[in-house]
């Protein structure tokens, strides 16, 4: 690939779809998967810019983003399971009070 503009455009498209998913869906799992899609789009932009500037740092940053995403998914899914135990639902609109 000589020009990275198409890749950045693809990254923008994926990021937008993820953002619309976060805004429209009400199931916590679907919102979470849309967030993963947005992270993926950001990683794609990182790798594309690393390629354009001939710099390895972008790829290393993607590596760290993936590690943090793995930690985030583990904790987030544990939270969803804990919420499901008490509410018997993964609908975020039902989580309207701080008291468990």
């Amino acid at each position: 690939m000589t020009s990275i503009e198409p890749v950045i455009l693809l990254s923008a498209v994926l990021f937008t779809i993820g953002a619309v998913g976060v805004l429209t869906r009400r199931n916590a799992l679907m919102i979470f998967m849309s967030v993963e899609l947005m992270l993926n789009a950001a990683n794609l932009a990182f790798v594309a810019f690393a390629q354009q500037w001939g710099n390895l740092d972008g790829q290393l940053f993607v590596f760290f983003v993936m590690a943090v995403a793995a930690a985030e998914v583990a904790v987030g899914l544990a939270l969803i399971v804990a919420i499901f135990r008490t509410k018997h639902s993964t609908d975020v609109d039902e989580l309207s009070q701080l008291r468990g």
Binding site: I8, F15, R26, G54, Q59, F63, M66, A71, A74
Partner: protein, 166 residues
């Protein structure tokens, strides 16, 4: 049009199709499968962008570990059939407004990309082998690497504590 660019267009179409499938899917398991397809196609684009290590990590960590966790939790909770209320938002204007805001975000991103990104820098080929990445990880990026290991440990302990039956 080079072969590489044709391949990119093909894989990008698959990636966008999978993302739209995730957005419109009524079943959480189908949505997870669409997300795996999206991640696999993005891994192919990483290969085209001269990032073989990141492509391998993408398949192993994202499409492998993270999505297995997702599918496991969806099946554990029996939440694969999304509540019909999920398609009917509590706020009537929520869906049209989110689509308008999404279009605005995309127009903004597109305008910035098309106006500011012109004039590609001289793409010099760099060594992106796993060897070079490993060397950078354990010299320049040693501290963040160790911090990430502590973060993963904290996440594991946190997940166990959160799901433990008291």
């Amino acid at each position: 049009m080079s072969v590489e660019f044709f391949l990119f267009l093909l894989v990008a179409a698959v990636a966008v199709f999978a993302a739209l499938g995730l957005l419109l899917s009524r079943n959480a398991i189908y949505a997870a499968m669409f997300l795996i397809l999206n991640m696999a196609s993005v891994a192919v684009i990483y290969l085209l962008l001269n990032a073989p290590f990141i492509a391998a990590v993408q398949v192993a960590v994202y499409a492998g570990a993270i999505m297995v966790l997702f599918v496991f939790v969806i099946m554990l909770l029996g939440a694969e059939k999304l509540n019909p209320a999920d398609t009917k938002p509590a706020l009537k204007w929520q869906r049209p407004l989110s689509i308008v805001l999404g279009m605005a975000l995309f127009l903004l991103l597109g305008a910035v990309i098309l106006t500011r990104l012109g004039g590609a820098a001289a793409a010099k080929m760099i060594d992106t082998s796993p060897l070079a990445i490993g060397k950078a990880l354990f010299t320049t990026y040693l501290l963040p690497f160790e911090v990430v290991s502590v973060l993963l440990l904290a996440a594991v302990v946190g997940a166990v504590v959160l799901t433990k039956k008291s």
